[in-house]
């Protein structure tokens, strides 16, 4: 009779549709052991798929249940769960889709998955105080340029070759379901959480690059230089970064 480790290894093989001895160790009566093992196989598959359905509802709606199940099956074979927390199951899904769908007309679905993961991840990020715009305005002009920023833990950013935020919004439960022209252009999306609600917006390439630099620790002046953001766009950009609660803290460095 098997030891515990041997039994668990063999059972696991059976759950993964590989040959196993587990059904030989299980009592067979009016219901064969193989059919009983199938219940566990179905449970495991279903729980994995349900976790992905919860995290990627728009992707599910776009591709349909059957194709979503196929994608889930391939993903699980390539990336079996490595943790007992089902919330982690979908972390690598966008990367898997990027490889799996590369070169096809559906490659953009990887970006949609990346956005849905960003939304889910932002939803459970730690809470944080937010900085008021007056914090920056109160600095001497010479120190404003050298200011650096800390952003709220829920801030996430997604870049896509298609208008992915429009697709996501149109497919929300209260969305209009409109067909979005995927050739309309690239998208740079900012996602974060305000209290318990997710906030999202598309920004221009230069605005995204500016924010990217700030997140990396650049000063306001350096971020402007790197992004080539037009100076006249800076007040509006800073206004919504503060008003929307994206900035957690302003760090003033000693003036020159």
């Amino acid at each position: 009779m098997p030891g515990l480790h041997e039994l668990q290894r063999s059972f696991a093989a059976g759950l993964s549709d590989r040959p196993c001895d587990a059904h030989e160790w299980a009592a067979s009566d009016h219901i064969p052991a193989a059919a009983r093992l199938q219940v566990y196989r179905n449970n495991s598959r279903t729980l994995f798929e349900q976790a992905l359905r919860l995290t990627y509802p728009v992707l599910l709606r776009r591709v349909g249940a059957d194709y979503f199940r196929q994608l889930t099956h391939h993903f699980r074979s390539a990336h079996p769960a490595r943790a007992g927390d089902l919330h982690e199951v979908g972390r690598a899904f966008a990367g898997f889709l990027a490889a799996h769908l590369a070169g096809s007309d559906y490659a953009w679905l990887a970006d949609l998955a990346a956005l849905e993961w960003a939304v889910a991840d932002a939803g459970v990020a730690a809470d944080s105080p937010i900085a008021a715009a007056v914090t920056l305005a109160a600095l001497e002009p010479a120190r404003i340029e050298s200011a650096r920023f800390t952003f709220v833990p829920s801030l996430r950013r997604v870049v896509s070759s298609v208008p992915v935020l429009s697709v996501w919004r149109a497919n929300q439960p209260d969305g209009d379901g409109a067909t979005i022209d995927l050739a309309a252009g690239a998208d740079q999306v900012i996602v974060h959480r305000q209290s318990t609600a997710i906030a999202s917006r598309s920004v221009s390439r230069s605005e995204y690059a500016f924010l990217d630099a700030l997140v990396a620790g650049a000063s306001l002046r350096d971020a402007l230089d790197r992004s080539q953001l037009a100076l006249e766009r800076l007040p509006n950009l800073l206004h919504w970064l503060f008003a929307d609660g994206v900035i957690a803290e302003v760090h003033a460095t000693p003036g020159a």
Binding site: M1, P2, G3, L4, H5, L7, Q8, R9, F11, A12, L15, S16, W25, A26, A27, D29, H30, I31, A33, A35, R36, L37, V39, Y40, N43, S44, L47, F48, A51, P80, A81, R82, A83, G84, D85, L86, H87, V89, G123, V124, A125, A126, D127, P153, S154, R193, T196
Partner: protein, 290 residues
């Protein structure tokens, strides 16, 4: 019967009345008011994260309800070492929400680094008891308190099991000092699926260890003309399970009882009605014990 206390720290566990699971569909009702239930149970893994609506709401609700943290992913019976990161997150949730009870399952769930996210069956052997008990002790040491361990539903029986389910659970309590979360629906499901004797299990377990009872619905599945019950937590408690619950109360006395409904979650009033039926039975039990 006096409330169950922990042999480790002496803390009180859950009140001997009926509680319900706090589900997404009902968060609005609990945010707006305080429905009349004795306690709330949540899946521990849903509270592993720092932010979001649910942790914030639970922070507020714990002022008005005892909380039970019920884990589904640690898989204490797995041969591999406990996932330390997972244990740390449980510990963090315990520190934040200060639950009246913490529970896990008598199952395994991962091997060779691959997790199956299901409650997989252990054989009822001395080896399995000792292995499971070692992990239970390790978790209790990490948390600094006793946990409850739940019996799971079975869809197969291992031919080399040498213990009955009741003997297995009793041995686990003896080896680890844990408490028991007695899932009465699972006892019934196992009686149909593998011919287990639920009354014998109830008679065999150490009653002073029972800190909570779960009641849930199940699904009947036909397999080549024969019935398997699937523990899907997706319907009302069946009359057969209510009857078995009555027998459990006769043996154990009044025990905190959870109505466990996780799939196809109904309106809150339905859950509260199920909890009300459990409460009526508990009141009779309290009167008998007085």
């Amino acid at each position: 019967m006096s409330p169950v206390t922990s042999g480790r720290t002496g803390e009180q566990l859950l009140p001997a009345r009926a509680g319900i699971g706090l589900r997404s569909a009902h968060l609005g009702a609990f945010a707006a008011g305080r429905p009349d239930v004795a306690f709330l149970e949540v899946h521990t893994e849903n509270y592993f994260h720092d932010g979001g609506r649910e942790p914030g709401l639970l922070d507020r609700l714990r002022a008005d309800y005892p909380i039970s943290l019920h884990g589904v992913g640690l898989a204490l019976g797995s041969v591999e070492p406990l996932d330390r990161a997972h244990v740390a997150r449980i510990a963090a949730a315990v520190r934040r929400f200060e639950p009246a009870a913490i529970s896990e399952h008598a199952c395994w769930g991962h091997v060779d680094g691959v997790h199956f996210n299901d409650l997989l069956p252990l054989p009822f052997t001395d080896e399995a008891v000792l292995h499971l008990a070692a992990h239970v002790r390790e978790l209790q040491d990490a948390l600094g308190r006793r946990i409850l361990v739940e019996n799971v539903s079975q869809y197969l029986r291992f031919r080399h099991s040498t213990l009955t389910e009741g003997e297995f659970l009793a041995a686990l309590v003896h080896e680890s000092g844990c408490g028991l979360l007695l899932d009465v629906n699972n006892l019934y499901v196992n009686s149909v699926n593998v011919g287990a004797d639920p009354l014998a299990a109830i008679e065999r377990i150490p009653v002073t260890a029972v800190g909570e009872i779960h009641l849930a619905g199940h699904l009947r599945k036909d397999v080549d003309g024969h019935t398997l019950l699937i523990d899907d937590h997706g319907s009302r408690v069946s009359e057969a399970v209510w009857a078995l619950y009555a027998r459990a109360l006769e043996r154990c006395g009044p025990v905190a009882t959870l109505i466990e409904w996780d799939t196809d979650v109904p309106p809150l009033e339905v859950l509260l009605a199920e909890a009300g039926r459990a409460d009526s039975m508990l009141q009779v039990c309290h009167a008998r014990a007085a």
